[in-house]
């Protein structure tokens, strides 16, 4: 194959060459940056939350029957709900909870090492009932889970539970994540240690959970979390978290609302899967990924069609030229190869320009704070795709060009 003449003919038609080069370069730059964004966001959605999220169901009960306002009614109904849900076939365990994980709405409060003069740092927390650890499906790496003695007496204090600050002077046994344990006690000896909030309420760490996300997985520290033993029941709203046996999710999911209404009619029962709540929380990511995906596909398609168009005109323009070469003994394969090599060269230069543009664009977008760094595998795959696309796009006009009869050379238009 003669590269010399191909090169020379390429640069005889400079404008066309550079336009293809520029188009391929820009397309590569945009596509790689889109893919980097998509990949990064998918990785965040896909990372482990520590919980058995596939089998978890979030239930909210909002009473409207005036009976709930009567002394002790809410608590009785709460205890009955827990018993009835637990007894449902397919349910592995159930617990109560004040605010749901992964939902984007939750509670947080200040804590510091007990007895220290440090500034308090913010720690998100969940108030959860018995069976919290087994229901969440999180892994306990040190210490123990909650015991009945850790919980406040339900019948003694059945008015509204503290949602903000617990104001009593007592010590609570709590669970924390490894992340939070290490944050307060970097030496790894958090078990049995105490932290305190405002007004001397002190927490003793009795167990450490390997990993669990709080209510804000996209926040600065998603694994920062403590779990307080509580019975988060009140006369306005009560929430339960249900973990099903593997494979029995659907069955339990549809049975929950009728079951709870059967137990107590005068309330609104909302049943959602934890996966759905997670999906909602991450929905801006999912939506953006869809858009970025569409943009990438459309862009490659536009560029591909553009190359088909530009190459076919350049074939038409060179009909007589092809005829002459065929007359002088060039085979059809030679002609196809000629156009393909020409295209390879252009695509090659385009990709080289594109790599530079990719990093330039990434730098610019990153300085605006929106885009992570380029990962080499993504760049390599995109280069391969662009190169194949260029080749395919040139193939169609090249094949048509090879059909030109040698006799064309001697005929005038």
């Amino acid at each position: 194959m003669e590269f010399g003449p191909i090169f020379r003919s390429l640069f005889q038609n400079r404008a066309r060459t550079w336009l293809i080069v520029l188009e391929i370069g820009l397309t590569l730059a945009v596509v790689v940056n889109c893919l980097v964004l998509i990949r990064d966001q998918q990785a965040q959605i896909g990372r482990s939350t520590g919980m058995d999220e596939q089998n978890l169901i979030a239930v909210t009960s909002v009473p409207f029957d005036p009976a709930f306002q009567e002394e002790g009614y809410s608590v009785a109904s709460y205890e009955q709900d827990l018993r009835e849900i637990e007894a449902m076939p397919g349910v592995r365990s159930v617990t109560s909870i004040l605010q749901f994980p992964l939902s984007g709405s939750g509670s947080a409060t200040g804590r510091r090492i007990a007895g220290s003069e440090d500034q308090r740092t913010t720690v998100p927390y969940f108030l959860m009932g018995p069976d919290a650890i087994d229901t969440l499906g999180v892994e306990l790496v040190q210490g123990r889970t909650f015991e009945p003695g850790d919980f406040p007496d339900l019948h003694d204090d059945d008015e509204e539970q503290a949602e903000e600050e617990e104001d009593t002077d007592h010590v609570t046994n709590i669970l924390v994540t490894q992340y939070t344990a290490d944050k307060f006690f970097p030496d790894g000896d958090a078990l049995g240690k105490q932290i305190e909030g405002n007004n001397n309420n002190v927490d003793t760490i009795v167990g450490i959970v390997r990993l669990m996300h709080n209510s804000w997985p996209l926040g600065p520290d998603p694994e920062n979390l403590m779990i307080h033993p509580s019975h988060p029941v009140n006369n306005r709203q009560t929430r339960y978290l249900v973990r099903t046996e593997p494979g029995r999710f659907d069955e339990v999911f549809v049975a929950l609302e009728p079951k709870l209404r059967e137990v107590e009619e005068g309330r609104i029962v909302t049943v959602r899967s934890l996966s759905e709540m997670k999906g909602n929380y991450y929905s801006s990511f999912t939506s953006m990924n869809q858009l970025l995906g569409w943009i990438s596909v459309l862009l490659v398609a536009v560029t591909g069609l553009g190359i088909v168009g530009m190459t076919s005109f350049s074939v038409t323009q060179r009909t007589r030229h092809i005829g002459t070469r065929r007359a002088l003994g060039a085979t059809r394969g030679d002609i196809v190869r000629w156009f393909l090599v020409e295209n390879w060269i252009m695509t090659g230069i385009g990709i080289a320009v594109g790599v530079a543009l990719t990093f330039g664009l990434n730098y610019m977008l990153a300085s605006m704070g929106g885009v992570p760094q380029i990962q080499p595998p993504i760049l390599l795959v995109s280069i391969l795709v662009m190169w194949l696309m260029g080749l395919l796009a040139a193939l169609i006009p090249a094949l048509r060009g090879s059909l030109v009869q040698p006799v064309i050379a001697t005929r005038s238009v």
């Binding site: 609104i268 069609l305 168009g309 323009q317 977008l365």
Partner: protein, 436 residues
């Protein structure tokens, strides 16, 4: 003359139907993608209430813990909401043209039709000024008056969507509705109203819809309903309902309309005076530090526009650039492949200018076709983006955006055509005749 050129251009477009389609669709896609992104961005980053955004102020006071600043990130920043006590005290001022304390809560609504299950809905608790302050449009009835604030009278305002759902969209003014255990009379129904972003309360979802029901704020106290939005506290308080109202926890938003510079200054003085009074009484132990942010400063402070959205706009504009380069390339190829024909025309006396304009006419035709299809696609694109992000816009594509879109695609096609047309009109007549 122009007609003849038009006929020739049409003929040329028809000669390569596939490539002409590629060109038209390419430019249409470029327009659609960039237009829908730019208009989406323009809406979320734009001014939600342009005619008075510099007169509406979000009020902040520093009632926070003397030992710790409210925000670790910016220790100079006062709390982002007010305590209930302070919000009610500010309502005593007669300086603002309109002002309202407000917050969000949830209540159980019992639909008028008994066969429908009750639902739990978000309620905005506010003063009657809310509607005048934010220029909220009404379809039926109107806001309650300030006497109803104080009573409080059992009246509510419904959003258009809620009225559709509960009363089938008819004029429901005068009808009653039970919320929790209290009967309320509908006094007004809003026209569709979707402030985007939800600037009056970005604390709880900046792109959430406006609440379905609006209610005089003092009903919360009558009905012992707590807020459902963000609450931050630093000082322990009594767990009862009144305890929360008397606490140092912040959970109430406050807006004031100050029309003149003079009002603004007097109001600032009033806030300073209030803080000093409270300090004397043992509260407000931090330095004087109130904020009066207008709508745009407030949105900027909240950082409602995500940097990744800006990145999306750049990507969309690059998309348009690729489409334009694509168009230039195809046009150039197409025009140059007709060199011999142009050679003949030149030899027969056509001027360079004539050849140039002939080719530009062809580009303009492609541009027009592209812009028509592109605009249709933009509409689809904007509604797709709205659906994707769960945002509802009162006015997704306005006339400015439409004309910008048409102008842009014509311009793109013409600019893209200039170089190829210039190349082709410079063809020497002799060259192409000789080689034939």
């Amino acid at each position: 003359m122009l007609l003849y050129q038009l006929r020739l251009a049409l003929k040329s477009i028809r000669r390569n139907p596939v490539l002409s389609t590629v060109m038209v669709l390419g430019i249409a896609l470029g327009i659609a993608v960039s237009m829908s992104f730019v208009s989406a961005y323009y809406i979320i980053s734009g001014d939600p209430i342009p005619h008075k955004s510099d007169k509406l102020f979000y009020v902040q006071l520093d009632s926070w813990n003397p030992d710790n600043p409210f925000s670790d990130d910016d220790p100079t920043e006062p709390p982002n909401q007010l305590t209930y006590m302070d919000a009610m005290a500010l309502m005593e001022s007669d300086i603002p043209t309109y002002h309202t304390a407000m917050y969000k809560t949830v209540m159980v609504i019992h639909p008028p039709n008994d066969s429908v299950q009750p639902t739990q809905e978000e309620i905005r608790m506010c003063f009657s000024d809310f509607f005048s302050l934010f220029d909220v449009p009404f379809d039926y009835g109107g806001p309650w008056d300030s006497a109803a604030d104080e009573g409080p009278e059992p009246v509510i305002v419904l959003s258009a969507e809620t009225n559709d759902e509960l009363f089938g969209g008819e004029n429901s003014v005068g009808r009653t509705l039970r919320l929790e255990d209290q009967e309320f009379k509908v006094i007004g129904v809003l026209a569709p109203w979707h402030p985007t972003p939800k600037y009056y309360d970005p604390h709880n979802g900046s792109f959430d819809f406006a609440e379905p029901v609006f209610m005089p704020i003092h009903w919360a106290r009558e009905m012992q309903v707590v807020n459902s939005g963000n609450t931050s506290g630093w000082k322990p308080y009594d767990n009862s309902y009144e305890g929360k109202l008397q606490s140092e926890a912040v959970w109430v938003q406050f807006w004031a309309q100050l029309d003149t510079q003079e009002q603004e200054e007097r109001y600032a003085q009033f806030l300073t005076g209030y803080a000093e009074e409270q300090r004397a009484a043992g509260r407000f132990q931090r330095p004087n530090n109130h904020r009066l942010r207008d709508v745009n400063a407030w949105l900027e402070f909240w950082g409602v526009v995500d940097p990744s959205q800006r990145a999306m706009v750049i990507i969309a504009l690059l998309f348009l650039l690729v489409c334009a380069v694509n168009l230039i390339g195809i046009l150039l190829g197409k025009f140059l492949s007709r060199a011999s024909e142009v050679g003949v025309r030149r030899a027969l006396g056509a001027s360079r200018m004539w050849i140039f304009s002939l080719h530009l006419v062809e580009c303009a035709l492609i541009g027009i076709a592209g812009s028509v299809i592109g605009l249709a696609l933009s509409l689809a694109g904007v509604s797709y983006i709205q659906r994707l992000f769960g945002v509802q816009l009162d006015n997704p594509l306005d006339m400015t955006m439409l004309s910008v879109g048409i102008g842009l695609s014509l311009l793109a096609a013409l600019v893209a055509g200039i170089y190829p047309a210039w190349r082709i009109c410079r063809i020497a007549p002799g060259m192409h005749l000789k080689t034939q």
